[in-house]
């Protein structure tokens, strides 16, 4: 008798006792649905986080001098030489095709007088050419600060749509126009607009765009080349002290190697420093931590599920023993008609496996539904309670495929293990004893 026939036969006999089959499955359904719910939520969180991090572009390491972990609490004021632009440039020069850096610093606040005489305030940032790499979407006209602008220390800048509305009578004229920025210290700078960007909701919130009574009350941001800023300040790289620097890497390198290069570069500089060390901050580490927490939760749930599978399995074994006793005569008849011991054994093992697998499948479906439902609730909460962040968070609902496969595998295994003994007993029954059984 072939396998397919056995499966058909198993379904037939399970269909006869629908309620009992279902009750037997319950333990397995509960165990599996718990695991799938948790793994769906966990996987969705991971996917959402990594999607969000991708969007925020955390493919960079931030380095900054920090107090050593083993410091006794007493330390001097920050030393002037802790992190300079020269060091960063030097580090990059050692691995020119592998590492990149970006700097962005607040230059100063300045005042601008618009075409029709209104004055308003801006905040000027010196940024490197890769600053807008992650925010390309926000540039609506023109371009960002380029590498050429950086190297040739050009007087170019990128402003926002709000700025163009503040400054120009016809905001479309913006690109190519030169604007005079009056510094707080009395100096002034003329910069030519090469690009226009729009703010995200989050940024608009920070700037108080919606709360402002007049458009001129909004203090917008202006981005211009970092090197141009240095030129204006008359600073050499050696004299330029950075609070922090962002180190990126090219395709020829990866994060771990980049970390190694950074450690190697700063090791001799900080070797004898008792207070400071160069700290490498990796935002993705938080993601890693959340991942670890999720893994722990998943493992804990899996252990509980394993216990419920065992309990469910014992239930299956019990019901199989009862079913075999009830069907002793049937077993006798089948044997009289030519069934082999193996045919009978196969029939009951497959029945047990199908009970467990069906239970597992129902569990998976319930689990996925739970997971999707909870994720939807989470997304609803997010969009109603923190709408300004919603844009950044790419909410993904993604059931964990490996968890599903493993769960179903374990369901089958449960059926096999707990069905085998009853099935073997059925297979080995003596035909005449089985036939005469009352």
């Amino acid at each position: 008798m072939n396998f397919l026939e056995s499966i058909k036969m198993a379904f037939t006999s399970l269909a006869i006792n629908k309620l009992r089959s279902f009750l037997t499955m319950l333990g397995i359904i509960i165990g599996i649905s718990a695991v799938i719910t948790i793994t769906t939520i966990g996987n969705s969180i991971s996917q959402t986080l990594s999607g969000t991090f991708d969007q925020l572009g955390t493919s960079k390491l931030t380095i900054y001098p920090d107090i050593r972990d083993d410091n006794d609490g007493y330390h001097d004021l920050p030393d002037d030489e802790q992190l300079t632009l020269e060091m960063v440039q030097d580090l990059i020069k050692r691995h020119p095709n592998e590492l990149t850096y970006s700097c962005n610093t607040l230059y100063q606040g300045s005042e601008v007088v618009s075409e029709n005489g209104n004055s308003f305030k801006t905040l000027m940032f010196g940024v490197s050419d890769d600053y807008f790499d992650q925010f390309k979407k926000q540039i609506v006209k023109g371009r960002a600060v380029s590498k050429g602008d950086m190297e040739e220390q050009k007087y170019t800048c990128l402003v926002s749509e709000i700025f163009t509305q503040q400054y120009f009578e016809h905001p479309d004229d913006a690109i190519g126009s030169t604007v005079k920025f009056l510094g707080a210290d009395g100096t002034n700078v003329r910069l030519t607009i090469v690009g226009v960007m729009e703010y995200t909701d989050l940024e608009k919130n920070q700037l108080g765009v919606n709360k402002a009574k007049s458009i001129y009350d909004i203090r917008t941001w202006v981005f211009f080349p970092y090197n141009t800023m240095l030129k204006i300040q008359g600073l050499e790289p050696k004299e330029t002290i950075l609070e922090a620097a962002e180190i990126g890497w090219t395709k020829n390198c990866d994060k771990e190697t980049a970390k190694l290069y950074i450690q190697k570069y700063f090791e001799p500089i900080y070797r004898n420093d008792e207070v400071w060390e160069m700290h490498i901050y990796d935002e993705a580490q938080i993601f890693g931590m959340i991942d670890t927490v999720l893994t722990v939760v998943t493992v804990a749930i899996s252990v509980i599920a394993a216990i419920s599978l065992i309990v469910g399995g014992v239930g299956v074994m019990n019901i199989m023993l009862v079913s075999i006793l009830e069907r002793t005569r049937e077993i006798g008849v089948r044997k009289a008609l030519g069934a082999l011991n193996g045919d009978i054994r196969k029939q009951f093992v497959i029945e047990a496996i199908i009970i467990c697998l069906t239970g597992g499948l129902i569990g998976v479906i319930i689990g996925i539904m739970n997971g999707v439902l909870l994720s939807k609730i989470a997304s609803l909460l997010l969009t109603t309670m923190a709408p300004e962040y919603a844009e950044y968070i790419v909410l993904t609902v993604q059931p964990s495929i490996p968890a599903i496969v493993i769960s179903l595998g374990f369901s089958m295994l449960t059926g096999l293990i707990f069905g085998y003994y009853p099935a073997k007993r059925a297979g080995n029954m003596n035909p005449i004893d089985a036939l005469r059984y009352e």
């Binding site: 037939t12 009289a336 008609l337 030519g338 082999l340 193996g342 005449i432 036939l435």
Partner: protein, 235 residues
Amino acid sequence: MNRVPVIHMEAVTKKYYIGEPNELQILFDIGLDIYEGEFVSIVGASGSGKSTLMNIIGLLDRQTDGKYLLNGTDTSQLDDTELSHIRNKEIGFVFQNFNLIPKLTALKNVEMPLLYAGMSQRKRTERAMELIRLVGMEDRYSHDPSELSGGHKQRIAIARAMANQPSIILADEPTGALDTKTGRMVMDLFHKLHKEEGKTIVLITHSPELASETERMLTISDGRIVSDFERGKGE
């Protein structure tokens, strides 16, 4: 006659609780030859050992001592798998209580021996329908046993017994649970199988009338064959 008997028994005995104080011997020194195409009835008091003998013939049970050859094969050497194969191919059982499998249609019940013979679904259905027509049940093939009368059940059971064209049909009181009229119909069916299909049939019955219709009648008393009457030949 020097043809090989379908069933050949020599000094077959059956004991229960062997070696225990309550040891029980049911069959004593059974010697028996049944030839192809014979229609044999076995009669005897209740508890005399008829079913026990039948179960040994049908390879559902083993004798304690003695020799039993089925179609010339010594059955004492066979393992479970070989016994199953022989039951499947060579023996057709008809029981007093029908022993149809509940919740399976008449058709599926008839298909059962074909299933264990490894026949494909299409061929099985074809052959089973043919058998169901043979026993005149074609309008009830899709019914469950619970929806059939005793006489109908027994006809389905006979169709099932015929499925793999066995060399022998063993019927243990097939009319025992039926009224006279339906019992008559079932008996007629056996006669038909015997005459038209040339089947070898061994039938246990309580009814002297039915036994007298067969060409050979064995009488068992307290585990021994006490008479072997062949019609037209005398004892």
